[in-house]
């Protein structure tokens, strides 16, 4: 069974989604099946991660067509750890949706589509083929489009149209870039491309193609100036859906960017400067956007954009410290952003709104919940022993080590946006938890209190689970750092990856 481990994260969600389709219109069995499926996926992801850590890069050639002709699935440390963190977020959201997704939405195929989305994500992480990566991106878009419009309210339709049109544009650009690469080299296997691309005479065209890839993935991961679809769509769907989007969808764009620009393309000085400026602008616009928003979900959306900038900058600096920091931040960000939207969901259940001026007094009425949220907020702000602190040290270090003027500004941007993040979170803490509940809002009924114990548990347990993982990342940072550094080494030296796929160099 060990040799099939690599494809199981994809298959388990495909099978769970299909079994859920047999229970069309019956939410209760779907909930149980979905929980079982995501739990199994978590075990499989653990097994895959351990296997890759002990035995090195794993490869499977689908349908037994050898690379570079068939589609290869490759699991190195990076992709297997992405699968692992995705499975954590998937399990948490599946648990949360047992009470957080209304029965009406669950009747209309919420669970099957949710699992197809997770399948697409795992496929995108594990594939070793450029066109197959595109196909998985399409699976993700289709599934997320259904999820974002499920329920059919006017705001959701508006958000969905913005979301899907920009993402389709990204797909078109991505596909064009793939076509150019295929025209130049005649192969789409990533490992094979890593060998053939440097030997192409027309390197100018390859740099242009690299920029096309950067734009395509840039739209998907919401970098400046292509981010505006994100804050105008992420606050519309239910919190469980927004959580999975926030935690995983932009991150798959970052994953693809890191993979492309380490394996296929190597940024030269010009491109490094461009990417650094873009990352700086992303951080600043995200941070400034977060200051002015009064709605929790919109504010968190801008924080997503802000922190995407950190990782893109880490890619541009292209040293082991920078890449390790970016990867570490990616792991931390996946857990935190999922959790933030789940927290927003619980707050909405309690107070009926996520608009900060109308909130207040949560510290008084739910002290334990406030403590839980505090852990998440301190981790995100980067208070020393917690998870946001370690990757930032590495990014600072890499930024100072690089002597170009842009990287100085990158460091300044990093400090500024970290401070703004802290300020925004402090403001949110004051508004939501410390402030007295406004008099106009006292009569709004609390929908959390009357819920049964099981339902309360299914809303709060995922937040505890993700907060626990965040705490683990922060407190046992040594182990995560080892993994992140190994990933950075793999990125800087892709030879083992290529050798595992092609069998030669």
């Amino acid at each position: 069974m060990m040799q099939h481990l690599i494809i199981l994260p994809v298959l388990v969600h495909l099978i769970t989604g299909t079994v859920n389709l047999f229970f069309w219109g019956k939410p209760q069995p779907q909930r149980v099946i979905s929980l079982l499926g995501t739990f199994t996926a978590m075990l499989i992801a653990f097994a895959l991660f351990n296997q890759v850590r002990s035995e090195g890069v794993m490869v499977m050639h689908a349908a037994n067509w050898k690379a570079p002709f068939g589609i290869s699935f490759v699991a190195d440390t990076f992709s297997s750890s992405m699968v692992l963190f995705t499975s954590f977020a998937g399990f948490a959201v599946s648990l949360f949706s047992a009470a957080g997704i209304s029965a009406v939405r669950a009747q209309f195929a919420f669970y099957p589509i949710f699992h197809f989305l997770l399948m697409g994500l795992n496929g995108a992480f594990l594939t070793g083929d450029l066109f197959n990566l595109y196909v998985w991106f399409e699976v993700i878009i289709m599934a997320s489009f259904v999820l974002i419009t499920l329920g059919g309210s006017k705001a959701q339709m508006e958000g969905g149209v913005k979301y899907v049109s920009l993402n389709l544009l990204a797909s078109v650009i991505f596909l064009t870039a793939i076509a150019i690469v295929y025209g130049l080299t005649g192969t789409l296997n990533l490992a094979d491309l890593a060998i053939t691309l440097p030997n192409i005479k027309n390197q100018g065209l390859i740099n242009i193609t690299a920029l096309l890839f950067f734009i395509g993935f840039g739209i998907k991961s919401a970098v400046f100036p292509l981010y505006f679809w994100l804050p105008s769509s992420y606050h519309t769907p239910p919190s469980a859906v927004a959580a999975i989007f926030a935690g995983l969808l932009t991150k798959v764009g970052i994953y693809a960017m890191l993979r492309m620009f380490t394996l296929l393309f190597h940024p030269d000085a010009f491109m490094t400067a461009i990417i650094l400026i873009i990352s700086l602008a992303t951080m600043l616009t995200g941070a400034l956007g977060a200051i002015i928003k009064t709605d929790l979900k919109r504010m968190f959306s801008y924080l997503i954009i802000c922190h995407i900038g950190y990782m893109v900058g880490g890619l541009a600096l292209f040293t082991q410290a920078a890449l390790g920091g970016a990867v570490f931040y990616l792991f931390h960000d996946m857990m935190i952003k999922t959790n933030l939207f789940l927290i927003a969901g619980v707050i909405k259940k309690i107070r009926g709104t996520t608009n900060m001026p109308k909130l207040g007094g949560l510290y008084h009425s739910y002290p334990k919940f406030a403590l839980l949220v505090a852990i998440v907020i301190f981790s995100l702000a980067g208070t020393p022993p917690l998870s946001g602190f370690w990757p930032k040290i590495y990014l600072f270090q890499a930024g100072f080590a690089n002597t170009s003027w842009v990287s100085n500004y990158y460091v300044i941007g990093l400090i500024f946006s970290s401070l703004v993040t802290l300020f925004v979170l402090a403001k949110m803490w004051k508004e939501v938890f410390w402030k007295k509940l406004p008099d106009t809002q006292i009569h709004v009924p609390d929908h959390f209190q009357p819920l049964s114990f099981m339902k309360k548990l299914s809303l709060v347990l995922p937040i505890i689970f993700l907060a626990g993982i965040t705490l683990y990342i922060g407190l046992d940072a040594e182990r995560v750092l080892t993994v992140a550094n190994d990933i950075a080494k793999e990125m800087l030296n892709p030879k083992p990856y290529i050798k595992a796929v092609l069998g030669h160099l």
Partner: protein, 138 residues
């Protein structure tokens, strides 16, 4: 639609279309055709019946609602693609019978994969069309 020509022609066309769809399905592995095209042709047969004799009668004729075809087809495809895993081969590897069967020819897992696609395509196409015609009548 009360059109005698359409109704009479439909009665003759439906079996032809259904047979042709199965022909396309079986032919598909090495020649043009396959589950996707076959499924489209088969759903044309039902849509034609719907035009001539109203959609409600088509639904009654089919016994199962078309949405039931989707999970069944997906399940058939999944099983045929994970079957090689139990023979220690990668996912989706084609497993073939040693001897060709009469009429059908070589039978392997890819035929069942195509049958799954065929069912999914019928299910999705008819589901969409019936839903649209439902909302048109209301």
């Amino acid at each position: 639609m009360k059109n005698i020509i359409l109704r009479t022609a439909t009665a003759y066309l439906i079996p032809l279309l259904l047979l042709f769809s199965v022909f396309l399905l079986l032919r598909g592995h090495y020649h043009p055709g396959g589950g996707f095209v076959g499924g489209l042709v088969a759903s044309i047969a039902f849509v034609l019946h719907g035009f001539a004799f109203k959609m409600q009668n088509t639904l009654r004729l089919m016994k199962f609602h078309p949405s039931k075809f989707i999970p069944v087809g997906l399940a058939v495809s999944i099983i045929s693609s994970i079957l090689p895993m139990f023979f220690k081969k990668p996912v989706m590897t084609g497993l073939w019978l040693n001897k060709p069967l009469p009429i059908l020819g070589n039978v392997g897992t890819s035929l069942f994969f195509d049958i799954g696609v065929y069912l999914v395509v019928i299910g999705v196409t008819l589901n969409i069309l019936f839903t649209i015609s439902d909302s048109g009548q209301q």
